[in-house]
């Protein structure tokens, strides 16, 4: 092994980084070369000197105290976060539930409102139809003759049901009014839209939408299924009534028509197409 090669390996030998074979070779040379052995000793001495010089430092007491305080503060912070984290989640759930209950989150109201609103009797629907739609032309929201009738009804339904309601189109009929009459106790939120036929006989059709599903109590009720939709069908004093439940609401159509005619009209209505959470203007546009 050349002297220069040995000399180059001395720092590695001093650091214990030579493999066993190389170390044996170098040490064999060192045994015959006191000058190289002295050089190896100096490399070791240099490392020891550096070690001694660097380890003489002592940690300032102030730093130790500062560090202890920092760690303690961080530990407290972690504890608070661990405590507050689940509470925050619980609070979020509570707020969300309140929002749902208050009907502030209209999107969820469409698909996830109260499932059962209450029970009504068939007579209530018929009376409101006769009184508000046929006789009085009750229109407290002033939608008749308004170019933005759909928007007004949307506002009214938003107020009554907490969801804007797009007025469904019925072929051969025109909207003639809208009111919130149905349940005098006001426990059941409902919107009442009525149409008048563009024909000599001028049939008047009422559509009630209730916030949540309602049951209609009537001895004469029967069930019918048309195009996949289940109807509750009632005929009362010459007035037909069909009700179906969809999207967690009840839709009831009332007119002095026989139930089959009403079912045909009701089948025109696609809930998903006209009841939504879009702004009134967008819904008005959808009316074409």
């Amino acid at each position: 092994m050349e002297t220069n090669e040995v000399r180059g390996l001395l720092p590695l030998l001093a650091d214990g980084e030579l493999d066993a074979g190389q170390a044996v070779e170098v040490e064999a040379v060192l045994a015959t070369r006191p000058d190289l052995q002295a050089e190896l000793d100096r490399w070791r001495a240099l490392r020891q000197a550096a070690h001694r010089g660097l380890t003489a430092e002592t940690v300032p007491a102030a730093l130790q105290a500062r560090l202890a305080a920092t760690v303690q503060r961080e530990r407290n912070r972690s504890r608070i976060l661990r405590l507050v984290g689940p509470l925050s989640a619980v609070a979020a759930v509570v707020v969300f539930a309140l929002v749902l209950q208050q009907g502030l989150f209209s999107t969820d109201r469409v698909g996830g409102g109260a499932t059962f609103a209450g029970q009504l009797v068939a007579d209530q629907f018929v009376r409101v139809h006769e009184h508000c739609a046929v006789s009085r032309k009750h229109d407290p929201f002033g939608v008749v003759g308004q170019a933005d009738a759909a928007a007004l009804i949307a506002d009214a339904s938003d107020c009554k049901l907490n969801v804007p309601l797009t007025v469904p189109e019925l072929r051969g009929f025109a909207v003639r009014g809208c009111c919130g009459c149905l349940d005098r106790s006001k426990q059941i939120k409902a919107i009442h839209v009525y149409y008048e036929e563009d024909a000599p006989n001028q049939a008047v059709v009422s559509l009630f939408v209730t916030d949540g599903v309602v049951k209609i109590a009537c001895d004469k009720a029967r069930s019918d299924r048309v195009n996949g939709r289940s109807y509750q069908v009632i005929e009362l004093h010459g007035t037909g009534l069909v009700k179906w439940d969809e999207k967690l609401r009840s839709y009831t159509m009332v007119a002095r028509l026989n139930p089959q005619q009403l079912e045909q009209l009701a089948n025109q209505i696609r809930v998903a197409g006209w009841l939504c959470s879009q702004p009134p203007m967008a819904m008005a546009t959808s009316r074409k």
Binding site: R52, G53, E57, V59
Partner: protein
């Protein structure tokens, strides 16, 4: 492998405060900056303690790695060796043993009374050399351990250490010559 959760952070990390502080002080060269570095290192370590797994060498290399990264991020980003230097370093790495053959050996000195001079000489090294030399001298780590802490190849450690030692030896030799220590001993 021991799970760090068996011991508290204080039990594991605080005993190494002196080592971390010493390295920080030589890295930063200023007491106040070194103290900030140590505090930041321990804060980061505390926050990451849940993910720490005790390895063969314990928590100390982990703390020093955090310290080193913190130092680089806070104070030495702009001084980190540019690509050209790194490439040169890599090239030196391959020929490190041969280069060492042509290098100077440490002076024949009694280092016993030269602690301050040694520290001053180390402070005068460039960051990349100082980092390696500090870990080598302070903790007597192997080259591989130093490479792990600094996240560099072992060849880079060898190259940087070689140059750092050369510079350290030269500075001490110059000091000895200036102060007549060589003549006095010879």
């Amino acid at each position: 492998m021991t799970d760090a959760t068996e011991l508290t952070f204080e039990e594991l990390a605080v005993p190494h405060l002196a080592t971390v502080y010493r390295v920080a002080k030589r890295l930063a060269r200023r007491n106040d900056v070194a103290e900030d570095l140590v505090q930041e290192t321990y804060l980061k370590a505390f926050r990451a303690f849940g993910r720490f797994e005790m390895r063969e060498f314990g928590i100390r290399p982990w703390l020093l790695k955090i310290l080193h990264n913190t130092f680089l991020n806070r104070y030495a980003r702009e001084q980190r060796a540019p690509k050209a230097t790194d490439q040169a370093t890599l090239e030196q790495t391959r020929e490190a043993p041969n280069a060492a053959a042509a290098s100077e050996a440490p002076p024949e000195l009694d280092f016993e009374d030269l602690d301050e001079e040694v520290k001053a000489a180390i402070d005068g090294l460039a960051d990349e050399f100082r980092s390696v030399l500090l870990l080598w001298a302070t903790m007597e780590l192997s080259y591989q351990e130093i490479a792990d802490i600094l996240s560099v190849p072992i060849g880079t450690v060898m190259s940087r250490l070689h140059r750092a030692r050369q510079q350290l030896a030269r500075k001490l030799k110059d000091y000895a010559a200036e102060h007549g220590l060589v003549e006095r001993r010879s």
